[in-house]
């Protein structure tokens, strides 16, 4: 990883799918070691941006850097990507899934064994490591999904709606773990349309129609709405509030 204060820098980023402009002049900077929440409705461009950062989509226009480099294979080892749906091999156990992805990221066998123990503890799946993933509950699968994204100890974690299908108790516990990871130096970019979760981020970017409306701490972006962060988002979206 190249030392830089910015984990992600995107400028005038554009990406279309046919007539749909998923990203349309998307400007965003994510600082190293922060949790930044991308908040916006479905179809706002959050997942498209995350996929560009993960090196899965090439932008049509604009600049984008991850730790000072173009996203792709060069940055792949620094990035952990948790997809929206649990992207796991259902017939394999959590241990086998973690073992597989660990080897794909080039971890030595001994380190993979250590990571399996660490991650099973982190996501509260100790004792369930050898159950086939298909027998896990929806919430457990999401946790297993998260653990697979973290197996190679990435410095940037991309979490695409990580708490979908997870009960409130576990959700709170997960956010505590995100904070622990952040404190250990991991940068986290998390997408959500659950406004309550946005308040747990260090900074929040409101996203709508492929562009960033505003970026700031939850307190900063929440101010114009005179109420909840949900009101603030609607105010920005409807043009009743000016970007900071």
């Amino acid at each position: 990883m190249i030392a830089t204060d910015l984990a992600i820098r995107s400028s005038e980023l554009a990406r279309s799918f046919g007539d749909v402009h998923a990203l349309d002049g998307f400007d965003l900077e994510v600082r190293t070691g922060e949790i930044l929440g991308l908040v916006g409705p479905n179809g706002a461009g959050k997942t498209t941006f995350v996929r560009v950062i993960a090196g899965l989509l090439a932008p049509d226009d604009g600049d984008v850097e991850v730790f000072g480099r173009r996203p792709g294979r060069a940055t792949a080892s620094d990035v952990g990507y948790m997809t929206q749906a649990a992207a796991l091999y259902e017939d394999l156990s959590l241990r086998e899934n973690l073992g597989f992805f660990g080897r794909v990221y080039g971890l030595p066998r001994a380190r993979v064994i250590e990571r399996i123990a660490e991650l099973a503890a982190l996501v509260h799946l100790e004792g369930d490591e050898d159950r086939p993933v298909r027998t896990l509950s929806g919430g457990q699968r999401q946790l297993a999904n998260l653990s697979c994204a973290m197996v190679h100890e990435p410095t940037l974690l991309l979490l695409d709606e990580p708490t979908v299908g997870i009960d409130p108790v576990l959700r709170r516990s997960l956010w505590e773990r995100f904070a622990t990871l952040r404190d250990a130096g991991t940068t986290i970019l998390v997408t959500t349309h659950v406004m309550e979760e946005a308040t747990r981020c260090d900074r929040v970017a409101f996203v709508n129609a492929g562009e960033v409306l505003t970026v700031g701490t939850p307190d900063e972006v929440g101010a114009p709405g005179e109420g909840s962060i949900e009101d603030a988002f609607l105010a920005f979206r409807d043009g009743r509030a000016e970007p900071s």
């Binding site: 993960a54 899965l56 996203p71 294979r73 990035v79 091999y89």
Partner: protein
């Protein structure tokens, strides 16, 4: 039973099909392609087998060729599915049989053997009974026509057949003859079907996206799939081989490693074909629909049931593009004729070319999945 509920369910299925133009297209295309192929195969409109005539009077070991056989030659030429071609010497004819440029030589018997019992000799490669049988039949009828009297009972039995490509000259049993086709179809179907479904799942479950976000390269993904399936395909081929030989008493004249090499190269192509086609399917139902479209033309045109030399020339060219054609041809050469590496080098080269083309296609479709 409520009519409304049944009706709603049926209407839902019809609506689903209407929204799925690919399935609708395949519903029309697959039966048309298959019926066209079956119709052609069952028709008499086939290319003739090329046969030369040797004069049995001049040399018992088939040295000289075609002298004073005018009546017999004409009678043979009039037999359906036979074309009489000229070769200068019998050795030249045998060489052409071995290279596949001639299907057989029919010897016109010495005068004393023409009546009352017809005895004649037919020289063929011997690895394909569907080439041998029409030539033997045509020779018998031509003999009767040439002498001006109908066949007597038992005269067919007096045709001796020299099989120049079969080590012991024995007619291969049906199972010996069928084993190469069975092994090929099993290997092709198993690998193609499982790879395409497995890769489709990799895509739809999101694990492919997770893989592509990792440092793994496209070549590593394709190689991993290949080695994952290669072992299973080899075990399956060995099972079919073992059952054919130990239980059904099929013969394997050539080297086992050569049989496995043919299957290995076939599997490389099939894995990548499966991966490529899986990208054109949205679900497992659509993958299943690709199977008849991909497999049936190869089964009909690949020389499994009908010799490729009797196909209409453009279909012969098409058949030459199919991996099944070359795999079956190579396996028959090894298993029935006892051929070595040099004998199957052309088929192996064709299989390798197919495999490389499919690898290139696989890399190309994967390239579209990553920035």
């Amino acid at each position: 039973m409520r009519r409304a509920r049944v009706g709603a369910l049926a209407a839902r299925i019809v609506r689903g099909f209407r929204r799925d133009p690919r399935t609708l297209a395949l519903l029309v295309i697959v039966p048309l392609v298959v019926m066209a192929l079956i119709g052609y195969m069952l028709s008499d409109d086939r290319e003739p087998l090329r046969v030369a005539v040797a004069n049995g009077e001049s040399n018992e070991t088939c040295g000289a060729i075609v002298s004073d056989t005018g009546t017999f030659r004409d009678a043979l030429a009039q037999q359906p599915g036979i074309e009489v071609v000229e070769v200068t010497t019998c050795d030249e004819g045998i060489a052409k049989i071995e290279t596949g440029d001639l299907e057989g030589i029919v010897e016109y018997p010495v005068i004393e053997q023409r009546n009352p019992i017809a005895t004649t000799r037919v020289i063929v490669a011997g690895t394909d009974p569907r080439i041998e049988e029409p030539i033997v039949r045509a020779a018998t009828y031509a003999l009767a026509a040439a002498r001006g009297s109908p066949l007597e009972a038992g005269e067919i039995a007096n045709v001796t057949v020299d099989r120049v490509d079969v080590p012991d000259g024995e007619r291969p049993s049906t199972i010996t003859y069928s084993a190469p086709a069975l092994i090929t179809v099993f290997a092709f179907l198993f690998t193609f079907m499982l790879t395409s479904v497995a890769f489709l799942r990799e895509r739809s479950s999101g694990t492919l996206e997770r893989l592509l976000a990792s440092p793994i390269t496209r070549a590593e993904i394709l190689s991993g799939y290949l080695f994952g399936f290669l072992g299973f395909a080899a075990i399956q081929a060995l099972l079919v081989l073992a059952y054919s030989t130990l239980v059904l008493h099929a013969r394997i004249e050539g080297a086992l490693w050569l049989v496995l090499l043919v299957i290995a190269i076939l599997v490389i192509g099939c894995v990548n074909l499966g991966i490529t086609l899986s990208f054109f399917a949205r679900n497992e139902l659509q993958v299943i629909q690709f199977i008849p479209l991909v497999l049936l033309p190869q089964v009909f045109l690949g020389g499994l049931f009908w010799p490729t030399v009797t196909l209409w020339p453009p279909l012969q060219w098409l058949s030459a593009l199919f991996p099944v054609t070359h795999a079956v041809s190579a396996l028959r050469e090894v298993m029935i004729a006892g051929g070595g590496f040099a004998d199957v080098a052309r088929d192996l080269a064709a299989l390798l070319a197919f495999a490389l083309a499919m690898v290139a296609l696989g890399v190309w479709v994967l390239r579209g999945q990553r920035a």
